[in-house]
Symmetry: C2
Subunit: 228 residues, 2 copies
Amino acid sequence: MKISSRQNPWFKRIREAIREHAGEIVIEGPKAVSDAIAAGWTPIKVVTRDVDFSSEIFDVLAETKSPQNVIGLFERPRVSIGALFGRETSIVIALDGVQDPGNVGTIVRLAAAFDANGIALLPGCADAFGPKAIRASAGAILTVPVVSCTAEELLAFGWPIVAADTRAEIADPPFRRAILAFGREGSGLSPEIAKAARTIAIGMSHGMESLNVASAAAILLARSYAQR
Amino acid sequence: MKISSRQNPWFKRIREAIREHAGEIVIEGPKAVSDAIAAGWTPIKVVTRDVDFSSEIFDVLAETKSPQNVIGLFERPRVSIGALFGRETSIVIALDGVQDPGNVGTIVRLAAAFDANGIALLPGCADAFGPKAIRASAGAILTVPVVSCTAEELLAFGWPIVAADTRAEIADPPFRRAILAFGREGSGLSPEIAKAARTIAIGMSHGMESLNVASAAAILLARSYAQR
């Protein structure tokens, strides 16, 4: 029977997951939902517009302008931080206070393109599982391990940490057994990371210009990958 | 006298410029407005919240969530295409059907960071002078020459054109007297550009992943600049 009431418990639970993206995550569109299932995400409920939910209440939930007819409710994937350090032939990306979800999602996509072990989200970052970040990741969120952790937890594995900083000397980024960290534009790195990190810069005109954090990540991850 | 009517001609003209960004462009915030004047843009009208316009009607116009108290109406800067080819020691960036204004603005910022001559916007691109693109440019729109033109006009200057294409061979981008072109994600380059261009790729994992167009531009522009 088609559900058309906003009081329906599934409607309320999906709406809650969209608002909070806490323990449960919503994915939109038939391809994205089937890709998530194929990637091993645990589906809780899949609803189709005009079949499970009336078009009226489905469209209340749909995030994108062109509704995609299928919404999937999934358990948030839980990856242990150890998974980021399982392979010594590549690097870990750490994001430190990167607040814009589009930048977080773009860097998830870069992690897939340049075969990083995964991403550590330090405090103050946008959620990689929010709708904007998921869209910007272009599907990479399904395969790239993403872990929220503290600087202390991240550094406990003993890998050296290298951070992008426009005031540093220009140098090549590491390409194996290292953490490559990117801070918030403007205010930069948190004190714990700044204290532990060696800093490197990207060669730019006048040394005065700055880059968007996802642009800086693109350049350094491509350079890291090219050295393998 | 403080203007509080939505029928006021200045209110209507600024609102029109925000909607259409045709011959006149709106810049928000005291720093951005003074930077635009310093960069030589022609101001038509500058209005301050609660001084020139009542806060009620000012807030109707303000684009950003935290209103910045000053809005400037400017003539759209007009740069002739010849300005892009005035210096043979750098390159021209061409965008071909890049529809997302955030990507266009990010690439304007990259052009400043890596000292490109300027940007040619081929048909199908988002306007570089729209509010989202201006914000993403982080001020670079004030100094980077941006010209809308056709493929024919662009190629008439006789500079070789090199385009990013994931299916091509990996190669270094040019760093002087060349056009570096980026197409729409997915559908790629328009036929006129594809026919004229040599294509190069960025080395990536599996050769299967793709990059956001601004990420691809970041990597190739940084590599181009590093060769100078």
